[in-house]
């Protein structure tokens, strides 16, 4: 067409057929080895995951009876008489509820403040960095350290109303509300990150339109921005819930470790919060050869129920994020998260 690229005209038109791919038989040995290893790893990981799920399902079906889900644990010498795990199941749900109730307002407030108000001014930006970094510190803290922190903290006399006092004056320092407060630290980072990223991804024109209509910043946040990041929040909350459900250390240290839920005191709901109990995770731990029970059948049954719960939550996260991606016009191409 022009003097600069005479060959372009002479070149044949691009073929619509797929180009010839180089076949592995022509490669060097090193590359072939890597190919085989990569395939082996990929298939191997699937095989391992399949083995775990199938084995737990096999043991679960073998040992799980519907009566186990609805009967309470009992002190007994034999497997047959030691009851089911209704209380641990209820304990899991109660603790999740408390954890989310504590984490949600804190995470939302922080995310909103950092995303919307934390931009202007030196002081505000420094404070915003401080808050962001501290939430990253919490995200990176092992749950065992959080549990240990709670163990000593809630034995101070100041926190006696949160658990109870024994005769002799010592604050017990372990109860559902204590464990739930520390669990909220586990759920805080996922909710915070998801909400903050969602708020930052909201295009500027939505805010500008609201301001142009005369709304204040806080009203914009309440009525325009938060509803639009609802699915981000949902993903974050579900991630937080799955972290809470899967955690053992905090419950083991802080929830009193009694097989049954034992309320404390007289007031109707407060006594449950101040009471001690256990969750599915500590039930599994205590019934395994590592704990006191030596009841592997019950441990398998409870582990199967726990796995089903966690996998269900996983599917939920998947569905929410896929719906969100579709609504924003993107497709998840090859990404895992």
């Amino acid at each position: 067409m022009n003097a600069f690229a005479p060959d372009l005209q002479a070149a044949p038109p691009p073929s619509s057929k797929r180009g010839r791919r180089s076949s592995p038989w022509g490669w060097r040995w090193g590359d072939r080895l890597v190919l085989v290893c990569a395939w082996a790893m990929g298939i191997g990981l699937c095989v391992i995951a399949g083995a775990i799920v199938l084995y737990m399902a096999y043991r679960g079906v073998q040992y799980l009876r519907p009566s186990l889900l609805f009967s309470r644990p009992q002190v007994s010498l034999s497997q047959a008489g030691s009851g089911g795990f209704l209380d641990p199941l209820l304990g899991t749900m109660l603790l999740t509820l408390i954890g989310v109730v504590f984490a949600l307002p804190l995470a939302l407030a922080s995310a909103v403040w950092i995303a919307e108000y934390g931009q202007g001014g030196r002081v505000r930006q420094t404070l915003a960095r401080v808050v962001e970094s501290s939430i990253e510190v919490v995200a990176g803290t092992p749950d065992i350290v959080i549990a240990l922190f709670g163990l000593s903290l809630f034995r101070l006399g100041l926190f006696a109303p949160l658990s109870f006092r024994a005769e002799g004056g010592g604050v017990y320092g372990q109860s559902f509300i204590v464990a739930g407060a520390m669990m909220s630290l586990l759920a805080l980072p996922p909710v915070f990150t998801a909400t903050r990223d969602g708020l930052q991804a909201v295009p500027a024109h939505m805010r500008e339109a609201a301001f142009a209509l005369g709304k204040t910043r806080i009203a914009t946040i309440r009525r325009v921005l938060l509803p639009s990041v609802r699915s981000n929040m949902a993903t974050g909350i579900t991630l937080g819930i799955s972290r809470i459900i899967g955690d053992t250390a905090i419950v083991l240290f802080l929830a009193g470790d009694t097989p049954r839920i034992e309320p404390q005191g007289g007031a109707p709901i407060v006594n449950l919060l101040r009471g001690t109990g256990s969750t599915l995770t500590t039930y599994i731990f205590q019934n395994s050869p590592a704990g006191e029970g030596g009841a592997p059948q019950k441990a398998y049954a409870a582990a199967f129920v726990l796995l089903v719960l966690v996998l269900g939550l996983n599917l939920l996260v998947d569905r929410i994020s896929r719906r969100q991606a579709r609504s924003m016009g993107l497709t998840a191409a090859g990404g895992i998260v």
Binding site: V75, L77, R155, P161, F164, R165, A166, E167, G168, G169, G170, Y172, G256, D257, T258, E262, Q264, G265, G266, A267, V270, N271, R274, T276, P289, E292, G293, G294
Partner: protein, 274 residues
């Protein structure tokens, strides 16, 4: 008009709040709460005694019994975190300021796996096995297990370990290569699942079934020989308080000491004192 409605709503809410907070401690103080922690070997006995006591005094007392080992119980009661400590070993100089109340006697049995039908060990053999001098089952006459001897011991917080060392091990220590279990339940599981193992348990757990209890110097280890004084390894369970026991704790300990119902429970598997 709005002001009045607001004030009324606020005052109702405040009253309910105060009521709720007030009833909680009021209801709680009706039942005394006694917390206990300590030995895993006396846990079955203390749980039974506590359950019986609660049945006899309904709505007056509640117990929360944890385990952790004698050492943990003593540390807890020294720090004031629990009311009573369950202890399975004797008073030492480190326990100044604590009051020890004996409640029962128990025997410490040497146990092996059920498949290993070893019937008797002399004191010298016991010492030599647990201190690591004898290493193979082939060197122990009467043992049907083969291969190296796997010694299971308890972690240092165990009162049973302290008593075992002073009564049956001539004061020596168990070899440092032994695997240490942190409770009687775990020790029982370990010996049950390893064919060439040997360990020690209180007589209640040793004779529950699933293990081979070994005679010590020709004397079987059970409740009868412990009561008669024939068996050498008899130790005492204590309830320990910081200073003199008072209040609900004192009443409970007193009840264990004097009541025939408590004596009946103790006599079922353990040895009554006095």
């Amino acid at each position: 008009m709005n002001q009045h409605r607001r004030l009324r709503r606020l005052s109702i809410a405040a009253a309910m709040g105060v009521l709720g907070v007030a009833t909680a401690p009021a209801a709680a103080s009706a039942t005394a709460l006694v917390t206990i922690s300590g030995a895993t070997s006396s846990y079955p006995l203390v749980s039974l005694l506590a359950a019986k006591y609660v049945k006899l005094h309904p709505h007056k007392i509640r117990f929360k019994i944890a385990q952790g080992g004698t050492g943990v119980g003593i540390a807890d009661v020294k720090a004031g975190s629990v009311t009573i400590a369950d202890v399975a070993s004797e008073f030492t100089s480190a326990d100044a300021g604590l009051d020890f109340y004996p409640i029962a006697k128990y025997a410490i049995c040497v146990v092996t796996n059920q498949a290993n039908t070893l019937s008797n060990l002399t004191p010298k053999q016991v010492t030599s096995i647990f201190t690591g001098k004898t290493k193979q089952w082939s060197e122990v006459p009467g043992a049907t297990a083969t291969g190296p001897i796997e010694v299971f011991s308890r972690t240092s917080v165990a009162g049973v370990l302290t008593s075992f060392k002073s009564l049956l091990l001539e004061g020596k220590s168990v070899e440092s290569s032994a695997t240490e279990e942190s409770s009687e339940g775990l020790m029982k599981q370990a010996v049950e699942s390893h064919p060439s193992s040997i360990g020690f348990l209180s007589n209640y757990n040793a004779n529950k079934g699933g293990l081979n209890s070994v005679e010590f110097n020709g004397v079987a280890c059970n409740q009868t020989t412990a009561a008669s004084g024939q068996y050498a390894g008899v130790a005492v369970f204590f309830e320990v308080t910081k200073g003199t026991a008072s209040g609900a704790a004192a009443a409970f300990i007193d009840w264990i000491d004097k009541s025939p119902a408590a004596k009946k429970i103790i006599a079922s598997q353990w040895v009554v004192i006095g």
